[in-house]
């Protein structure tokens, strides 16, 4: 494909088009350009130029009537479909910065290879990142913030606790009451949290530690209302969000993942409350924090794995009973 020929082609061809036909071509490519911008397909101008050259070359062999134009354009297909093809070809495996993100600061993507996510967490996103046994990657882009989260599904597969295809649809076969029961742990933890605060509040000093160094020395203090309030929000807000996911009857995977997330944050908050109360009582120790972090990962992991195994058992019961009855059906 030599450049001079390409440049000469369209110019000589445009001359042969009737104004009506030329207008058809213009309208079409305006739409293609718009669709490309919307799909963030990258080199919009180049793509439109190439396609226009192609069409005009095709038309050069015809008499250039509107009917010829319509036929040639139909060959290329709808502008939106074309744009989708270009977007497919130019995107990486993560369709991170498409649509409307063109002119705004992206809320998610990668910065120096580190993923970041600033969109409000949704139960869908938590579900896909935290429990995806089909995906062998253990570290997946974080649900909210900078860095990575753990795909507990991949860990469970690595540890041979589940197989990737144990469940057709995660937790879909688990009985609804067991799905609802996943809220038990975070709700009880929340209640204990509130009870503990109520019981100790009067005796707490006015300033409470808000941060510790690794040695267990508090290095930052907040007024007790703020310090406890912060932990209360961290403990109770996820429980409320998870409860709403359950009440709205979202997919089982979303509901379980929301419970797991509430458990994770609730456990962290609870361990920090214990740490704070111990410090106020004169005990300097980091044990609650370490135990809390370990429990924050282990409890949701155990929850997710057990539910997946319940789902698998239900699927097996359904299929194996059906096959054993087959003879009589």
């Amino acid at each position: 494909m030599s450049t001079p020929e390409r440049d000469a082609g369209p110019q000589s061809a445009t001359g042969g088009l009737s104004p009506e036909a030329a207008a058809l071509v213009e309208t079409y490519f305006t739409r293609v350009h718009g669709a490309l911008l919307l799909a963030a397909a990258g080199e919009c101008e180049d793509a439109v130029d190439d396609l226009r050259t192609h069409i005009l070359e095709q038309l050069a062999d015809t008499s250039g009537t509107p009917a010829d134009v319509t036929r040639a354009l139909a060959d290329l297909g709808a502008p939106e479909a074309l744009a989708a093809e270009y977007a497919d070809a130019s995107s990486d495996d993560e369709p991170s910065q498409r649509l409307s993100d063109v002119d705004t600061v992206p809320l998610h993507g990668r910065l120096l290879k580190v993923p970041f996510e600033l969109r409000v967490p949704s139960s869908d996103r938590i579900a896909q990142r935290w429990w995806n046994p089909l995906d062998p990657r253990i570290f997946v882009p974080r649900v909210f913030g900078i860095g990575w989260d753990i795909n507990f599904g991949a860990v469970a597969v690595k540890l041979h606790l589940v197989r990737p295809d144990d469940e057709d649809e995660p937790f879909a076969s688990v009985p609804p009451r067991i799905i609802s029961a996943t809220m038990l742990f975070p709700v009880v933890l929340g209640i204990v949290f509130v009870g503990l605060v109520a019981a100790t509040w009067a005796g707490l000093p006015a300033m409470l530690p808000a941060h510790w160094n690794v040695g267990g020395e508090a290095d930052s203090f907040w007024a007790r209302g703020w310090a406890i309030g912060f932990l209360a929000v961290m403990s109770l807000a996820p429980v409320a969000a998870a409860a709403s996911t359950h009440l709205r009857r979202r997919a089982p995977l979303n509901r379980v993942a929301a419970s797991a997330a509430a458990t994770f944050l609730g456990t962290i908050a609870f361990s920090q409350l214990i740490q704070t109360l111990l410090y106020a009582g004169g005990t300097k120790t980091m044990v609650p924090t370490f135990v809390g972090i370990a429990a924050a990962f282990l409890v949701p992991f155990a929850m997710l794995v057990s539910l997946s195994r319940v789902g698998r058992a239900e699927e097996q019961r359904r299929d194996l009973e059906a096959t054993s009855k087959k003879g009589s059906v």
Binding site: D92, D135, P164, D165, D166, Q316, D319, L320
Partner: protein
Amino acid sequence: MGTDTDSRLSQFRKGVVELAILALLHGGEAYGGEIVESLSSHPGLAISAGTVYPLLSRLKKAGLIDSVWRESPVGPPRKYYRLSEEGGAEFDVMARAWDGVTGAMDELLGKGNAR
């Protein structure tokens, strides 16, 4: 090999592996581990469990394959996959299209050609 080359290769393998799975199941039902094992015995396909299971899930959602748990002679029950009726028809279409693709590609790559 650059990362661009890698991603280009993995792009076209993804489509091929789907057909490979259909072809394998066309020969009879198989369970996940079996599918992974027999496909990974073809190094050219560069297949791992990480590629097979998502594809199985996708094919099942598309209604091209069915799955059913069966007792295993050794160990716990296994989930077996088989082509659905629709999957069988899809396989015929894709296998024919594949012949067209390989024919064209052999010609373009100058294979089976004296020159």
